[in-house]
């Protein structure tokens, strides 16, 4: 079944092949067609080919495009040939920098040209059968990436008022970007790694991350007609309820979180997403370790009253061995087959 057929069958209470999942390969998709990670970014055609190849090879439940809005806003990204991209130059924390944080016309912005080509390419290739999602960092983590995380966190202490204005500007730029996607029928997904309880206290989360993220989700929900997904890395125990209150339809958690506890805290207010370990299991583990991890996730996650979607606990490392991916999706086919029964695991 295609992702859309599967969803339709579930909605209409008809039998289907297996429950849907939320596994996405990210940059690791470049390995499916054997291209350089740098080409994945520079060449829209190659990115579409790799993304669609990953979707077909592993039977994914959707395709997506990830965009580093911070690059559009002036940070310098470095794209190594065979490793994850990283930010090599950030903006200075001063008033002048704030003035540059705008996207006037997202459709015409040169740094978004590849994004639009990829998006069109994905719709053309699989739009009739699959969902297409757009993901980027939320306003708080986006700001941290723009200014350099540690400098930014230091400014949160020293110049909180400036920090608020910076996040507001990033949010406005992101809102402009989201509005430009009206009519496309994409789903939205935001990640907020720096908003993690591992990095800032819950009090600061409520002050600097939550209000802006809530406004972004408002716009995304309106534009796409579906509630977005929200991933926060690290320990989110103390902010899980806040994450739900941002208006996210699905909350995705790090692999260090206990899914049973997450299911309990989220209750019926959102779908729980997660959290197969991308490093310990996928990159460094064996197929047996992967299957065991997935089984645990499904057992615990299926206790979520608002629904559950199995996915990675964070970004999948590019060097993940294919045999572990094959083991994961084969096992999912078996464990998740209709009618799904957690007792079977």
């Amino acid at each position: 079944m295609t992702p859309k057929e599967r969803r339709r069958a579930i909605a209409e209470n008809r039998p289907y092949d297996r429950i849907p999942h939320g596994f996405a390969l990210g940059y690791a998709a470049s390995r499916v067609t054997g291209i350089k990670v740098s080409d994945f970014h520079r060449d829209a055609k190659k990115q579409v080919e790799a993304t669609v190849a990953a979707y077909r090879t592993y039977g994914l439940d959707g395709v997506g495009v990830r965009i580093d809005i911070e690059e559009v806003l002036g940070a310098t990204f470095n794209y190594p040939d065979y490793r994850e991209p990283y930010i090599s130059a950030t903006l200075n924390l001063n008033e002048d920098a704030l003035d540059t944080l705008t996207i006037d016309d997202p459709k015409k912005h040169p740094k978004l040209a590849i994004f639009w080509r990829v998006l069109d390419g994905l719709f053309e290739a699989v739009g009739d059968e699959s969902y297409v999602s757009v993901s980027f960092r939320g306003p708080f983590s986006g700001s941290a990436a723009l200014f350099g995380t540690e400098n930014f966190l230091r400014a949160v202490i020293r110049k909180p008022e400036f920090v608020h204005r910076a996040i507001e500007k990033v949010l406005e730029a992101e809102l402009t970007f989201v509005e430009a996607l009206a009519g496309y029928g994409v789903g939205f997904s935001n990640s907020d790694p720096i908003a993690s309880g591992t990095v800032i206290s819950p009090q600061q989360y409520r002050k600097f991350a939550k209000p802006y993220q809530t406004r972004l989700f408002d716009a995304e929900t309106r534009v796409s007609g579906r509630k977005p997904q929200y991933h926060v890395c690290g320990d989110t125990t103390r902010i899980l309820r806040d994450m739900v209150e941002t208006g996210a339809g699905a909350v995705s958690v790090d692999n260090l979180m206990d899914l049973e506890l997450v299911a309990d805290l989220v209750g019926s207010d959102a779908v729980v997403v997660g959290n197969v370990d991308p490093s310990g299991s996928m990159l460094l583990g064996t197929p047996d370790v992967v299957r065991q991890d997935l089984r645990n996730c499904l057992k615990k996650g299926s206790k979520a009253k608002g629904g559950y979607r199995a996915a990675f606990g964070c970004g999948l490392p590019i060097d993940t061995p294919p045999e572990n991916l094959i083991a994961l999706f084969d096992a999912f086919q078996e464990y998740g087959r209709y009618p799904f029964d957690p007792e079977r695991l």
Binding site: E150, I157, V199, C233, G234, D235
Partner: protein, 311 residues
């Protein structure tokens, strides 16, 4: 086995300065420094190479898994290709020390590396605000350290240093705390630090039993989290009560509270206290250290319903 030292601490704490100070104590040709690219102003690569040390930089975008993979890769390459005797790691300022330790205790590092010192640099000038603001990584760096080095202690005054020592002791009551001005630290002292001696221990030469208390657990700590807002009168009344000794002998106390729209920090020392307005967000936490605390009564005092909550 490769001996590994990790120097952690937040941006600006002085990790790089410390590494420079410690470098002469390592045998030059066999030491590799793994530095995070976005740490402090980088150590001058030329100087390092001229003196025979080798340095590897790792780039980071995110603190979580991707960063970990880069780090694992970099470390594995260093161990295999450069075969050093010592590695000094300066991780990103928001790294989780216990995560790095966990990684080092797994293969392929378990059989080739041994952790020697986990030095965490605590920034005296910014500690109080950082403790309020930061999440688990901050506590993690301090609680998992084998050595705690206070930086810029000479800039803040003895009473602030004492407060900070008391505060870090709540998270780590084993690691020696060094508060000596680094500029005055001799090579011998730096060497002793690298070798795990504690001749610089802040608490070692203190004649007063009070100072050793936390480590020997003869004194007790009382900490509580207050409701979002309390009235200032209630706070003052409670602090006055603490002075009377009805709850045990309170030696020191520190807290951050919100009274309506105002945020305050209070400090309780030698049976007197002061309350100062602060311009940063506060968490409502307070802590006392003292002798013969009556936990029940203290708890009742600070969590009484009548907190004069103003919102």
């Amino acid at each position: 086995m490769v001996s590994i030292d990790i120097v952690s601490g937040f941006l600006g704490a002085g990790k790089t300065t410390l590494i420079k100070k410690l470098l002469p104590c390592y045998p030059d040709s066999n030491t590799v420094i793994i530095e995070n690219e976005f740490g402090d102003i980088g150590i001058d690569g030329d100087i390092i190479e001229r003196e025979g040390y080798r340095m590897v930089e790792i780039s980071s975008g995110c603190i979580c898994c991707i960063m970990k993979d880069d780090f694992l890769l970099a470390l594995d390459n260093v161990v295999k290709d450069l075969r050093p005797e010592h590695i000094v790691i300066e991780p990103t300022g928001i790294s989780i020390l216990s995560d790095i330790v966990k990684m080092l205790k797994k293969e392929p590092f378990q059989s080739s590396c041994v952790i020697h010192a986990l030095i965490t640099v605590v920034d005296c000038e910014n500690f109080i605000e950082q403790r309020e603001l930061f999440g688990e990584f901050f506590k993690d760096q301090i609680s998992n350290a084998t050595h705690l080095l206070l930086s810029k202690a000479q800039n803040v005054g003895a009473s602030v240093v004492e407060d900070i020592v008391l505060s870090v002791r709540q998270w780590n009551d084993k690691a020696p705390v060094v508060a000596k001005n680094w500029d005055e630290m001799s090579i011998e002292e730096a060497l002793s630090l690298v070798q795990g001696d504690t001749v610089l221990d802040y608490e070692r030469d203190m004649p007063s039993p009070n100072r050793r208390s936390c480590r020997e657990k003869r004194f007790s700590t009382f900490a509580v989290e207050l409701p979002s807002s309390v009235s200032r009168d209630w706070l003052e009344a409670n602090l006055s009560d603490m002075k009377e000794g009805a709850y045990g002998a309170a030696l020191r106390g520190k807290g951050f509270v919100r009274c309506g729209d105002e945020a305050y920090a209070f400090s309780f020392t030698n049976n007197s206290y002061r309350i100062d307005p602060v311009d940063y967000e506060v968490s409502g936490k307070l802590c006392f250290i003292g002798i013969d605390f009556d936990e029940e009564k203290l708890k009742a005092l600070w969590t009484a319903r009548k907190t004069g909550v103003s919102n």
